[in-house]
């Protein structure tokens, strides 16, 4: 089996990959909104909050906000890249063999 072929196909059709990715993100957002609107209410009615998991208990107010984790993920990624790259270029970065 040639594993490289499907990857090559995806590389050649980057537009389709991007569309698929946007669909996935949109799907996950819709899914989260549905859970926030219906899931919590349904869970409360059936007393399912006893299950000890991170997501079925509300620990911080932000967890009640629909799509909070999407915003969290995106902001954290951008911050990590911008802050660390900035720090690297201004303070930390040295040429290879700096210690030699």
């Amino acid at each position: 089996m040639n594993f490289a072929e499907p990857i090559q196909y995806l590389r050649d059709n980057l537009k389709k990959v991007k569309i698929a990715m946007w669909i996935c993100i949109a799907g996950s957002l819709v899914f989260d909104v549905c859970i926030k609107l219906f899931g919590a209410h349904h869970g409360a009615e059936h007393g399912e909050h006893h299950v000890l998991t991170l997501a079925e208990k509300i620990y911080i107010w932000a967890e009640t906000v629909p799509c909070f984790w999407s915003i969290f993920g995106l902001i954290c990624t951008i911050l990590l890249i911008r802050v660390m790259k900035g720090l690297s270029h201004t303070v930390l970065m040295r040429k290879e063999g700096y210690y030699e």
Binding site: A4, I7, F31, A55, T77, M93, R94, E96, Y99
Partner: protein
């Protein structure tokens, strides 16, 4: 079967036998011992074995409980995978070092007293140093030297703590300590353990040394040193708040550096710090859920981190480089390696149906349950960074990026099999977490934890997908650069350089000046004066006495010879004279 056979025995004695085994049986021997050791762990029963009294110390080689079993389980399993990965290596010394290393780790895991812990702890440090040196590159020799110095420093902290602890308590039993009773001794022991766990700011040895180890050595090293440290922290320091905070700092610190690093194995090394941070935080938070989470994450981490190091090591071995700026487009030539690496990458990132999802969420839930919501949020931030650097950046630039022109082959089959087994285990744990949960120290609490629920899946998918979005939006900014980044090793490298400078410029100058002073004043004036005095004394005092005694004897002999005339009358007169002299003397006295 309830007899305890210490699994470390197979590795330590096995290491000694390796050079004696004929070549055609060597592979069977090398692979067989980890399997036997794994079987011993599977069949052992809880209890205390191998307890001896030596010099009034209670030495315990085999304390078996649920905590030690879970670590021994994954250590022996990992040793088989690691040996399989490196079975093509014909250098016996590498196998011997890795066997001693695993033996040391297992010795620590079953130790019931600090003395035994210390002995096996140092065995691990020494054996792992050789796994760096055996790469036989100038950079490896230097990195190994720094690694050894750091671990000797950690060992001294530990030994100092053990001595003080014994002085204070009169016991060397390795048991749970409590923050409210902890003093200098206990914090010294904690610092010794924390150095091996690469707790910030004692972490810099790890990304300094691991990228310089041999390809197979790095696979072993990523699994044992830090996880043994997590074990001893879980054994002795549960609920120490400082660990919860430092562990969370580690989770962030590791991913921050992984985002900007260029070398594959250095990125993965920083990720060890990050992932071990979850475990250290879990131990510090304490409680059944967090401790279970720390152990589960250690178990899962050993497998997926080894898988990632195997993937990176394969790339290094087949292309000759592990720098992302020199790699790209490897999916065409190393597709199996790429697939296995990606399984490791999505496992560490906590994708549903892979091991990281069922273990990391337990630690995070433990933090939230313990009332540490801010730690929970920081750990989730670290999870974002993990996916960004190991799940996206590294495979993108190594396997999918612009073709680098290198056309490597897949690594040898044994390496692919080892990666395949590790990848399979990552998947199995992900889809059937109960297999891992039943091994955990607090089994009931573990079985009550359900990682698969709608809200958790939604949260995870959102974080991962939006991290992916952020990555592609800022892809240009993440282009790897042929540079290094300063870390805390800057301090100890400069301290070391400062020490060498001080030695070369101050100590040697003082030595040189003192040498001249000694030569001109000490030798020429002082020593020569003393020598002259002794020469004079020898000539006039020693020789004078000896010579004059000789002269005197000769003179007396000369005179006495004249008395001996041979006339009997003279002798008789002399005898009578002597009698008169004696009587006279006696009379007057």
């Amino acid at each position: 079967m309830n007899n305890f056979i210490h699994p470390a025995i197979f590795f330590i004695f096995g290491a000694l036998l390796i050079p004696l085994i004929p070549k055609k049986f060597k592979k069977i021997f090398l692979l067989g011992l980890p399997l036997i050791a794994f079987y011993c762990v599977l069949t052992m029963k809880t209890g205390v074995y191998g307890a001896y009294n030596y010099l009034d110390f209670n030495i315990v080689f085999g304390r078996v409980d649920r905590l030690s079993i879970v670590f021994a389980h994954v250590f022996t399993l990992m040793s088989f995978i690691g040996v399989l990965f490196g079975i093509h290596v014909e250098d016996d010394s590498q196998h011997i070092a890795s066997y001693f290393y695993v033996g040391g780790s297992l010795g620590v895991v079953f130790a019931g007293d600090y003395l035994t812990v210390f002995i096996f702890w140092e065995m691990m440090a020494l054996a792992s140093t050789f796994l760096i040196w055996f790469r036989r590159e100038p950079a490896s020799l230097k990195a190994g030297q720094r690694y050894l110095l750091m671990h000797i420093f950690g060992g001294l902290l530990l030994l100092g703590g053990i001595f003080l602890h014994y002085q204070n308590t009169g016991t060397i039993a390795f048991v749970q300590l409590f923050p409210e009773n902890a003093g200098i001794a206990e914090y010294l022991i904690l610092a010794g353990f924390a150095l091996n766990a690469a707790v910030f700011p004692l972490h810099a040895w790890l990304p300094d040394a691991y990228p310089e180890a041999t390809v197979t050595g790095a696979v072993f090293m990523c699994a044992f040193t830090t996880k043994t440290a997590v074990y001893v922290l879980a054994r002795g320091f549960q609920g120490f708040e400082v660990l919860a905070i430092m562990g969370t700092v580690m989770t962030i610190y590791g991913v921050c550096y992984a985002t900007i690093e260029n070398d594959m194995r250095r990125i993965l090394s920083y990720h060890i710090i990050s992932q071990v941070g979850y475990m250290v935080a879990g131990v510090g938070i304490g409680g059944a859920l967090a401790i279970n989470g720390a152990c589960a994450h250690a178990y899962a981490h050993i497998l997926y981190k080894a898988l990632l190091f195997m993937g990176a090591g394969s790339v290094l071995m087949m292309t000759g480089t592990s720098k992302l700026n020199e790699l790209g487009g490897l999916y065409k030539y190393m597709p199996l390696t790429m697939i296995f690496y990606i399984i490791g990458g999505i496992s560490i990132s906590g994708f549903p149906f892979f091991s990281g999802f069922v273990s990391k969420s337990m630690v995070i839930a433990g933090a939230a349950e313990g009332g540490h919501q801010y730690l929970m949020m920081l750990m989730l931030l670290a999870a974002v960074g993990t996916f960004l650097s190991v799940g996206l950046k590294l495979p993108y630039f190594a396997f999918f990026g612009k073709d680098c022109g290198i056309k490597p082959k897949e690594p040898p089959k044994n390496m692919l099999w080892a990666m395949g087994i590790a990848a399979f285990l990552c998947f199995i744990i992900g889809v059937y977490p109960k297999a891992l949960y039943v091994l955990l120290p607090y089994k009931e609490a573990a079985l009550e934890f359900h990682p698969y629920n709608m809200a958790h899946m939604s949260e995870t998918l959102q974080i991962l997908l939006c991290t992916g979005l952020g990555f592609f939006l800022l892809l240009k900014r993440l282009q790897p650069e042929d540079k290094i980044n300063l870390d805390f090793d800057w301090f100890y490298r400069n301290i070391l350089n400062g020490f060498i400078w001080f030695d070369q410029n101050i100590i040697q100058k003082i030595d040189s000046v003192w040498g001249n002073v000694w030569k001109n004043v000490g030798i020429k004036v002082l020593m020569m004066s003393i020598a002259r005095f002794f020469a004079w004394f020898d000539r006039w005092a020693i020789d004078g006495v000896v010579d004059n005694v000789a002269y005197g004897t000769r003179w007396i002999g000369d005179k006495a010879r004249k008395i001996q005339t041979g006339n009997l009358q003279n002798y008789l007169a002399l005898a009578i004279l002597m009698i008169f002299v004696i009587v006279g003397v006696h009379w007057f006295l």
